[in-house]
Amino acid sequence: MSEEVAPLTGEPREGALYLAFDGWEGPLDLLLDLARRQKVDLKSIPILDLVDQYLAFIEQAEALKLEVAADYLVMAAWLAYLKSAMLLPKEEQEDPSPEELALRLHIRLQRLSAMREAAARLMGRDRLGRDVFPRGAPEGLRVERKADWQCNWFDLIQAYGQVKARGTPVVHMVRERMVMTLDAALARVSAMLGVTLDWMELREFLPDSAGDWADLRLRRSALASSFLAALELAKQGRLEITQEECFGPLRLRSIARG
């Protein structure tokens, strides 16, 4: 930090001079710079002196017809207010008191100052790539991902079995199974209808569940064929069919021929 406050520099811009406050990072920074010039502990800086210096600096800039950035002017206005408040007799001072405001300003200046010094010390360290250097041409460490293939004995054998099964020509053999043909059902239903004039349920036309007829598949076949036989006979006008409810029992009755 230079002993003197950096001189005002400006460059012509549309007739006026534009004040380039290049030396400072905002009004707080300018205040800190002014405070530092007093070469006393920041904590004990007489705030009035500091305010006067700041205001004088801004006035000087304005006298030079330099354009001053708004935030510097706002700070100037605030400092002028602070100064006037401090000059008032104690009993007329408003709340918050000017001492309180001045203390806050002190703290802010100290904090900024602390960070400025910290930044300088940080930048002055032995920095990697400037003062100390990493290995120029590291070989590099590589991690190669390798698959640990998993396959067990059963998978292997099963796979072969399925390949073999797939490769063997498939011969389709129709299994012989017992059924009641439609013709048999027609004959049986016709015969049974001949002996009664009452309603009979379709299931009653099936053979007794004994011997071969115990086979569930055969019974289903008989039921299906008997149903078809009943429809056929109804179509021929030889019987009538009734069902009182959905999925209820189907009942058949012979139509007596006149």
Binding site: G136, V143, D155, V163, S221
Partner: protein, 206 residues
């Protein structure tokens, strides 16, 4: 190594460490303001001789490199368990039962084309090797299993692979439909779905 090191030696060590390319004696010396660097190089080479990093001269230029016996450290293999695909398992089984076989034979047995990568995976796993070429037109490459294959599956030899009859007895050769029928019968599944679609009953209808 307890007494303070010579400045030139430290400078040479640091310069070679930070250099992006191997450096000649002249380049090093120029870099360090013209000092003689040979004694430092010799001392450093000796110091690093038994360490994890060595200082070596190659074609008149010096550089640090990983000790040759530690080269494997530069590349660490990380193994991840991965399940062999269905296709690869089938190929492996076919090779094991029919070896040596060509790719065309494998394809004819499987009934589908075999991707190049499938055999590569089996070779990467160390279970299959190229066993030469068949002496027929086109001289196709033939494949066989390896010792590692036997070891992995706990087989003393290929003769320990179950025979076709064993597979049949285990039901592994059954066509899928029969297997279903049996399962349905055993499980007491009602015969309805089966009977309904049975072609034989349909054919008897007028």
């Amino acid at each position: 190594m307890d007494e303070p090191l010579d400045d030139v030696l430290r400078a040479v060590e640091a310069a070679l460490f930070a250099a992006t390319e191997p450096m000649s004696v002249e380049a090093l010396s120029n870099h360090l303001g013209g000092v003689s660097v040979r004694p430092a190089l010799a001392a450093l080479a000796q110091h690093y001789a038994g360490r994890g990093v060595n200082l070596v001269e190659r074609g008149g230029k010096w550089h640090f490199q990983t000790a040759p016996d530690l080269a494997h450290i530069l590349r660490r293999a990380h193994e991840e368990p991965r399940r062999l695909s269905r296709a690869a398992t089938e190929c492996l089984a076919i090779i094991a039962y029919h070896e040596p076989v060509s790719r065309a034979q494998i394809e004819s047995i499987r009934g589908v084309q075999t991707a190049k990568g499938t055999l590569d995976v089996l070779m990467e796993a160390g279970w299959v090797r190229v066993a030469g070429r068949r002496d027929v037109p086109g001289r196709p490459v033939i494949y066989a299993t390896t010792q590692a294959f036997l070891a992995h599956f706990g087989l003393a030899s290929r003769r320990d692979l179950p025979g076709i009859e064993d597979l049949r007895a285990a039901g592994l050769l059954d066509p899928v439909e029969e297997a279903y029928d049996r399962a349905a019968g055993e499980g007491g599944v009602p015969a309805a779905p089966d009977g309904a679609s049975d072609p034989s009953s349909a054919r008897e209808l007028p």
